[in-house]
């Protein structure tokens, strides 16, 4: 079923909307939740929370891409739960590892976060300049938080080769951010 058809079901408050969303995007949401949280039970609960959030927000939301909307909602719910559960400690899930890798691009020095939109726009330019394959790798690793070994299997590469490629992409990002005047 097309996304707009499922969104129409949400508009008309038909419960079939949830069934169709689960059929089409359930596996994607589960993967995102599992990448961030520690165990499968939490991930399953979170996916159900995602469906509830979609039900409560569509309408009035009119997502052009239900896929992106569901993935974003799921990821934010997962990150909220992760921060709640790990307020006092680190460990578990892909989030700490991804943050460590990104810290190579910039030192984790204390600074005011005042450049969010500018940084996002710069990221868009950086992503646009990447070859499609590298761009997909970057987003799958740092947006979807896909583990490196799983990502290597998905794209048919050896893990070591993928790690080298990701390192080169991160170096490019660092150079780009420096060139754009960001404090790195």
């Amino acid at each position: 079923m097309e996304d707009h058809q499922i969104v129409t079901l949400f508009y008309h408050r038909a419960e079939k909307a949830i069934d169709e969303t689960a059929k089409k995007y359930g596996p994607l949401c589960r993967r995102i939740a599992q990448n961030i949280l520690e165990n499968e039970q939490d991930a399953d609960e979170l996916v159900n929370d995602t469906y509830l959030r979609l039900w409560n927000t569509i309408p009035p939301e009119q997502p052009k891409s239900l896929k992106a909307y569901a993935a974003t909602v799921c990821k934010h719910l997962a990150l909220d739960r992760y921060e709640r559960d790990h307020a006092q400690k680190r460990g578990g899930g892909q989030l700490p590892m991804a943050l460590e890798e990104l810290a190579e691009c910039i030192p984790d020095t204390a600074s005011d976060v005042t450049e969010h939109l500018a940084l996002r726009d710069a990221l868009h330019s950086f992503l646009d300049a990447l070859p499609p394959f590298s761009r997909v790798l970057f987003v799958r690793r740092y947006w979807y938080l896909t583990p490196l070994d799983a990502l290597a299997a998905e794209v048919g590469m050896r893990e070591g080769a993928l790690a080298m490629l990701m390192l080169r992409i991160r170096k490019k990002l660092k150079q780009y951010l420096q060139k754009e005047g960001f404090d790195v």
Partner: protein, 328 residues
């Protein structure tokens, strides 16, 4: 800037990057180019060994990508058959079909080509078609996958001495439109084999009664042979009906005159608009293995949509359809 700030900025990237990252086509293209590059290198060594041909004569014209890497010219490794575009399996495709997942390990554990051919050959079902030869490849024979007899989305092809899995991302109605130059409703129905391929037609969103066979044929007779119209036609009729119903311009055409403009934060306007534009949904299940098809019928606008294409109806046709669907 902190690491967290960078992470939050990545989190806020536009939706199209998030969607693109899930598209296997990019991965498949990269794998084809990498394999072609590898094959070209092997061929070069073979040339050096036999000393028969020059290097430039072997390599396809190269392009330079953003990384400064030379890439080979694109070769279409896929094929088009019975309305579907098929491309070679990517790494992620094996996971979607559990019976085939074991084949993925054959890549990693390096069984011989002959062993792989034998394994895949055993999984082939009935022949469903042939693919003609082109400048790069010989003719191919296409089989169903025996373990998934009802799935049109996967196939096995035997070509140039090798068996391989192929996958389609979905029906290619738009490819069919482009090929035939005909976006009429009749052509769209023909692509899906309607009405002959119909199993059931239902007019309620939740467990409604099925439309009888005779009424189904009559319905499709009315809906066929419609030429597609632009979305702007629908938008104009929505605006006109809103003005007629509520006497306000809270819903109007946008600046380009091709869509609607209204205050999306006004819940009342939004709910009234949704009610005004609510379609009568017609669900169609077919024997073609596709998902359920959907016709959104808008009697209030004398229009209907099928597969995201919009069509107009005449007033007497609307009356006839309403009778068939038992609508007031």
């Amino acid at each position: 800037m902190t690491t967290k700030a960078l992470f939050q900025a990545i989190d806020a990237i536009d939706a199209h990057y998030i969607i693109e990252a899930q598209e296997e086509a990019v991965i498949r293209t990269h794998r084809r180019r990498r394999n072609r590059r590898t094959a070209a290198v092997c061929a070069c060594f073979a040339v050096l060994l036999v000393g028969a041909l020059t290097l430039p004569g072997l390599l396809h014209p190269a392009r330079v990508d953003g990384d400064g890497q030379q890439q080979m010219a694109d070769i279409n490794y896929g094929f088009y058959l019975n309305g579907l575009d098929y491309q070679p399996f990517g790494a992620g495709d094996y996971a979607r079909y559990p019976v085939l997942s074991s084949m993925q390990y054959s890549i990693q554990y390096s069984i011989t080509r002959e062993q792989r051919n034998e394994l895949i050959k055993r999984m082939a079902g009935e022949i469903v078609g042939t693919v003609p030869a082109d400048e790069n490849f010989g003719p191919g024979t296409v089989y169903r996958v025996a373990a998934y007899p009802d799935y049109d989305s996967i196939r096995i092809m035997y070509r140039d001495g090798n068996y391989e899995f192929y996958v389609s991302d979905g029906n290619s109605l738009y490819h069919y439109f482009a090929e035939t130059g005909d976006r009429s409703s009749g052509n769209a129905f023909a692509f899906h084999g309607l009405p002959e391929s119909i199993l059931t037609v239902q007019t309620e969103l939740i467990d409604g009664e099925a439309l009888g066979e005779e009424n189904t044929r009559e319905l499709f007779a009315i809906l066929s042979d419609r030429e597609d119209v632009e979305y702007a036609v629908w938008a104009a009729r929505v605006v006109a009906l809103w003005a007629q119903t509520y006497g306000t311009d809270e819903v109007r055409l946008n600046e380009r005159g091709e869509g609607l403009s209204y205050d999306a934060t006004d819940r009342d306007v939004y709910e009234r608009l949704m009610q005004l534009t609510k379609p009568q949904t017609i669900w169609i299940a077919t024997d073609r293995g596709f998902d359920e098809l959907l016709i959104c019928y808008y009697p209030q606008f004398s229009m209907f949509t099928f597969c995201n294409v919009m069509y107009e109806l005449q007033p007497d046709e609307v009356t006839a359809i309403n009778t068939l669907l038992d609508l007031e």
